[in-house]
């Protein structure tokens, strides 16, 4: 594959006690691409993200990201390589303020010693404000993150990834449990942050997918069932049968 691809997943398989959650998968993401991954429950969507970010180890296959094989790196090294991942349920530090949530996620001060003697710079303060603005949480910066609404927690976690400026951002169901206005705001947010980076989004909400989707990948039983623009996918008979038709 050419260097134009940011992420190249090749012949990837993982099995859990004989069950193949991902089966010989090939999956490519370009730079500056927003890719939506859809599929029925158990299709392997979350597992795919787990494999890319190192949470689950592949049984076989390769994951090349900027010419590095992610299957050989540990979780934090994968983050350092430029991959950010948001979990399905909002994972934020509820006992810390929004500001501290963002600061802790910023690069720098990631070793024991450097975190002990870490000093907040003006640049970091500006960066935190900038991110807070992007994720609509400027007014909540000094609020305890546990007091945020569900939707705001989702945004905060996205912000915690943005502050790392990852080249690949992976979001697992970012609008689950959101109200309609929140969903629209999230779509606008995604369209803004996809500049200069690739974004992979797992989503069930088809209206949301239409709002943000360029290219859609449909997973089914650990394999790619179809891939292409949204309107083409919507009319694909196999996709309608296993997923959209329900």
């Amino acid at each position: 594959m050419s260097n134009a691809m940011l992420l190249e997943v090749e012949d990837l398989s993982v099995s859990f006690d004989g069950f193949k959650a991902i089966d010989d998968l090939n999956f490519y993401v370009e730079r500056n691409e927003l890719r939506v991954v859809i599929g029925p429950n158990g299709a392997g969507k979350t597992t795919l993200l787990d494999l890319i970010c190192g949470k689950t180890r592949a049984t076989s296959g390769k994951i090349n990201f900027r010419n590095r094989d992610l299957t050989k790196l540990s979780e934090h090294q994968i983050v350092h390589a430029g991959v950010g991942r948001k979990f399905q349920t909002p994972s934020i530090y509820e006992n810390l303020t929004v500001r501290h949530n963002l600061e802790l996620s910023s690069p720098g001060g990631r070793t024991v010693l450097s975190s002990l003697f870490f000093r907040r710079t003006d640049k970091l303060v500006d960066r935190v404000n900038e991110i807070a603005e992007t994720i609509y949480l400027v007014d909540q910066l000094d609020m305890s993150a546990g007091l945020l609404s569900h939707g705001q927690k989702q945004w905060l976690e996205i912000g915690m990834l943005l502050i790392q400026d990852p080249e690949l951002l992976m979001l697992d169901e970012p609008v689950a449990g959101m109200s309609v206005p929140e969903r629209e705001a999230t779509a606008a947010l995604l369209n803004r942050i996809k500049e200069n980076r690739a974004v992979i989004v797992i989503e069930h909400d088809m209206d949301f997918v239409k709002d943000i989707g360029h290219k859609v990948t449909v997973l089914h039983q650990g394999k790619i069932l179809a891939e292409g623009p949204m309107d083409k996918i919507q009319n694909d008979e196999r996709v309608i049968e296993v997923y959209l038709g329900h």
């Binding site: 949470k55 350092h80 530090y93 810390l96 802790l104 002990l116 870490f118």
Partner: protein, 388 residues
């Protein structure tokens, strides 16, 4: 100056440490006799362990039920030095082999074992008091945290290590003094530690060391590392997937807590005059967790006061009702965990400002910077960040 102040938790954090220092170093010595002061000195050595547990357990979420091991390692290192000094050839000339500790002679050992040799040097001993527990904690921590062993499994393993350590010390009595421990300690570099003046000096040295440990804790908790501890406790995966090597962070805080415990152990030996496996085992280790929980596992000063208060209660209660004490302590632990998860420090933080406000009616609430005295009540088991 301002920045320095902030690095240690701001004015409110330092005030707490200052008040404690004044009580320990001025109020207690002035108001009590030497017998009681020496007793307080003994309690004080437990506070080091409790302070370490605040960092490791309260903030880091790593419950160690084996802190007695590190208390013991520090204490034994100090005791080995003192014992060698007390075992001069002249003082031990009635032994079969003069010049070695008496218990070795009783156990038919005829030469000083190799690992006892370096403890002739006081410099080495001071180094060992910190280094031996640090290396041991590092090995345990590295082996477990790299394999992602945590939570209740970590607690059980550390408790097992404490038990194993006791068995080892008791079993190897020729090298360790066995169940009696290392006793009959007299001088520190020629200075008799049993005299009244020495007791006073050691008490003050112990207080000073405690204040130093409290300042180090305040610094750690107010750094980015301190917030990371809270973050790891609440959302370990999020920290890992934000680019941190979580295991390294945990190893560090566990080692730091262990070094604190060892310093306490060394002062125990100096002030009480012996060290024995009783302070190493599972029971002693769990007692130390109770100290920390009762005082408040999110407040270093609270935990120090808790260690002090519970030990005091133990001395008084177990003298008059020895059978009742274990039950009381168990009930205390369960009660605190269920009803006051933040311990005495939490009660003070919740109720003191309320009393304050009753007096000065309708004054604005405490500014956001002093979260310690805020009345906001977090859900049980999910204590709030203290130093924002």
């Amino acid at each position: 100056m301002n920045r320095l102040l902030k690095a240690f938790g701001g004015a409110s954090g330092l005030t707490q440490i200052g008040v404690l220092a004044v009580v320990l170093m001025i109020v207690l010595p002035v108001t009590t006799d030497l017998f009681h002061l020496n007793l307080f000195g003994k309690y004080l050595t437990y506070t080091f362990v409790a302070v370490g547990l605040v960092l490791c357990w309260g903030y880091g979420g790593i419950l160690s039920l084996g802190q007695g091991v590190f208390f013991g390692l520090g204490g034994y290192c100090m005791a080995m030095f003192l014992k060698l000094e007390a075992s001069t050839p002249e003082a031990t000339k009635i032994q079969t082999t003069p010049g070695i500790p008496d218990f070795m002679d009783w156990n038919q050992i005829t030469a000083l074992p190799w690992f006892w040799q370096p403890f002739h040097s006081f410099g080495f001993t001071l180094f060992a008091i910190v280094a031996v527990p640090a290396v041991f904690a590092w090995v345990i921590g590295y082996a477990m945290f790299k394999r992602r062993v945590g939570g209740v499994y970590f607690a059980i393993i550390t408790q097992a290590i404490a038990t194993i350590m006791t068995i080892l010390i008791v079993g190897q009595q020729g090298y360790t003094g066995g169940i009696n421990g290392i006793t009959d300690l007299r001088t520190l570099m020629g200075w008799d530690i049993r005299t009244d003046s020495a007791q006073y000096i050691l008490y003050f040295a112990c207080c000073a060391a405690l204040v130093l440990c409290l300042l180090i804790s305040a610094f750690v908790l107010n750094s980015r590392f301190g917030r990371l501890l809270i973050a790891m406790r609440d959302q370990e995966d999020r920290v890992r997937f934000s680019g941190y090597d979580v295991a390294n962070m945990k190893v560090f805080v566990f080692v730091l807590a262990s070094v604190f415990a060892a310093i306490g152990g060394a002062f125990f030996t100096l002030q009480v005059g012996f060290m024995s496996p009783t302070f190493v085992g599972a029971v002693a280790s769990i007692e130390m967790v109770v100290f920390c929980a009762v005082g408040g596992r999110l407040s270093v000063v609270g935990a120090a006061v808790g260690a002090f208060a519970v030990s005091w209660a133990k001395t008084n209660l177990s003298d008059s009702f020895p059978q009742v004490w274990p039950v009381v302590m168990g009930a205390l632990f369960i009660g605190v965990v269920m009803f006051f998860p933040r311990g005495m420090a939490g009660l003070v933080a919740d109720y003191l400002p309320r009393l304050w406000r009753k007096r000065a009616t309708r004054k604005p609430a405490a500014p956001a910077g002093t979260a310690v005295s805020s009345t906001r009540k977090p859900p049980a088991g999910a204590p709030q960040e203290q130093h924002s």
